[in-house]
């Protein structure tokens, strides 16, 4: 079957991409390595579900086989959910096909027999529109499209594919979530490098408690100072979040960090430097020393 092929290791993202694919009126086939996901995808709007079986549990190991499948089936597009596994698989498939690939597309359209998409460069400063001819690969992050509901049930068939067995899975350890997943937090208080010492995280926690928020940080706080785990840092190479409220203290607002919060409903910043780039990205802000402003803000918020 020609048309659009979809894969995501996260079934919710697969459903969203299927919906996007169906908007082009082309047939959509979804691939999965997981029987449970195959069942969950039955009413996703896909025309067909193909459950991959083979000797590896690592989806990326099927890249060469999937590339061959796409060619054999005359596929027009391979759309993959932008997760670590998805991006790896997608780029390998693009490598085996030696075809065009656009990563982390913000939008994708089908017009005049070609796909056109937009993506961000320079940490989110620049938006680029790209197009190509023939079979191409894109990765799409979750949350861009609404999934279809109650679509006609799609048939599932089993697809045996040869796996690359060179990379072997030894062990899988679930993420140790001592903290709440910052990506799912409704409200986030974010600390930046203007914080003097690790004990000052308490100030952030006090504020977070008053407004019922989780704590996040900038990349340097996690990777250089190691004050918070890597899973807490927000930015293009970390968590990209969409909370109702993002409130930063002592964050200058470098573009790579702002990329991680651009879809937040409300962005609020507290920083001593009135020229800090964060203020251009903010809905509300206070110029001032966070050590003075935050305690006063906490007090003001406590007064009902």
């Amino acid at each position: 079957m020609a048309g659009i092929y979809v894969y995501s290791d996260q079934v919710d993202i697969a459903k969203e991409i299927i919906a996007c694919g169906k908007s082009t009126a082309k047939p959509v086939t979804v691939l999965t390595l997981n029987g449970e996901d195959a069942r969950a995808l039955e009413d996703s709007g896909a025309d067909r579900i193909r459950l991959i079986t083979g000797s590896s549990e690592i989806i990326e190991n099927y890249a060469q086989a999937i590339a061959g499948l796409l060619q054999a089936e005359d596929a027009e597009l391979f759309a993959v959910g932008a997760t670590p596994r998805g991006r790896d698989l997608a780029a390998r498939v693009a490598g085996y096909l030696d075809c065009a690939m656009v990563s982390d597309v913000a939008t994708i359209d089908y017009q005049n027999q070609a796909f056109t998409c937009t993506r961000m460069l320079y940490g989110g400063l620049v938006q680029q529109t790209e197009t190509w001819q023939g079979l191409g690969v894109v990765t799409i992050a979750g949350g861009k499209f609404a999934p279809l509901k109650g679509a006609k049930k799609a048939p599932t068939d089993t697809l045996e594919l040869a796996a690359d067995t060179r990379v072997k899975l030894i062990e899988t350890a679930p993420m140790v979530r001592q903290e709440v997943d910052i990506g799912r937090a409704e409200k986030v208080v974010c600390v930046g490098m203007a914080l003097d010492k690790v004990e000052d995280l308490q100030l952030a926690k006090d504020l977070a408690d008053v407004i019922n928020a989780e704590i996040g940080c900038t990349r340097s706080i996690a990777e250089e100072r190691h004050w918070l785990p890597v899973s807490s840092y927000i930015g293009i190479s970390g968590a990209v979040i969409k909370p109702r409220l993002y409130l930063s203290m002592g964050v200058s607002g470098q573009i790579q960090h702002v990329y991680g919060i651009r879809d937040a409903q409300l962005i609020v910043a507290i920083d001593i430097n009135e020229k800090a780039p964060i203020f251009k990205a903010a809905d509300y802000g206070v110029v001032g020393d966070l050590y003075e402003v935050v305690p006063l803000l906490i007090e003001a918020l406590k007064k009902k």
Partner: protein
């Protein structure tokens, strides 16, 4: 002797890029730098070379300005550096980059590892390592946060979104490392001085005999400007500003 190649990119410093009022993008004042995450990758290669008793070799693909990167790269502990020179590099895409780097790597002997950062700080496309692996038919491991090497066996921890995988692969392999793999320290004076004595080699893409035409074309480039209220409280004493913010947050219904 084992050769560990680390691919790095000379990019424009995004801090110098300006978006004009009409959303056109002005890169006129932008200086070049080694992509932020490549500094971590270079250090990872230097450490891997030590573990394998081999040489850490830098490889960069770029236009004429990329030559400026070599001294910085060598001062980070690399034994040698290759500069793949091609004017088309400035307008290339993932496909073109993959082909060019794969072709260059083929010309270097005894390659045991190819290390790349997960993504470059300008595009963060995360395509390079997987594409190189596919083109050279080498195994690929991405999202790597930790590596250990025993003889021919590489054990890597992959930090994915929902778990940490431990995988093993026999070298040679292509590895894409996350910034958390190790720091990318600022070189000391001794290292900077040693850099000028280390071998540098230039290759021209025109000599590689590959198709250099990018597969995706750029139809438009414009600045992305955040469209936010920008209500910044700067006047009055601190208490007044804090109070004004609290009021705004209440009105917005977020507290």
């Amino acid at each position: 002797m084992s050769h560990i190649i680390v691919c790095y990119k000379w990019v424009l410093d995004e801090a110098d890029i300006r978006v004009n009022a009409d959303l056109s993008v002005d890169i006129g004042k932008a200086k070049g730098k080694i992509s932020d995450y490549d500094k971590n990758a270079i250090e990872a290669a230097v450490r891997a070379a030590a573990a394998l008793n081999g040489k850490a070799i830098g490889l960069t693909y770029g236009g004429s300005e990329a030559k400026l990167s070599i001294k910085d790269a060598l001062s980070r502990g690399l034994d040698e550096c290759y500069y793949l020179n091609g004017p088309e590099a400035l307008k290339t895409d993932g496909a073109g980059t993959g082909r060019a780097l794969a072709a260059a790597i083929k010309r270097i002997n005894d390659v045991r590892m190819v290390i790349c950062a997960e993504g470059a700080s300008d595009t963060y496309a995360r395509q390079t390592a997987p594409r190189i692996g596919a083109l050279l038919n080498l195994p690929v491991v991405t999202s790597v946060s930790q590596i250990s090497i025993q003889g021919e066996l590489l054990t890597a921890k992959r930090t994915l979104d929902d778990c940490v995988q431990t995988v093993q692969v026999r070298l040679p392999a292509v590895v894409a490392v996350l910034p958390e793999i190790n720091p990318g320290p600022i070189p000391g004076l001794k290292a900077v001085l040693a850099a000028s004595k280390r071998p540098q080699f230039e290759m021209k893409t025109a000599d590689l005999g590959i198709d250099l035409v990018p597969l995706s074309t750029v139809a438009d480039i414009r600045g992305y400007v955040m469209d936010r209220k920008n209500l910044i409280f700067r006047d009055g004493d601190t208490a007044a500003r804090g109070s004004a913010l609290a009021t705004a947050l209440r009105k917005a219904g977020v507290v």
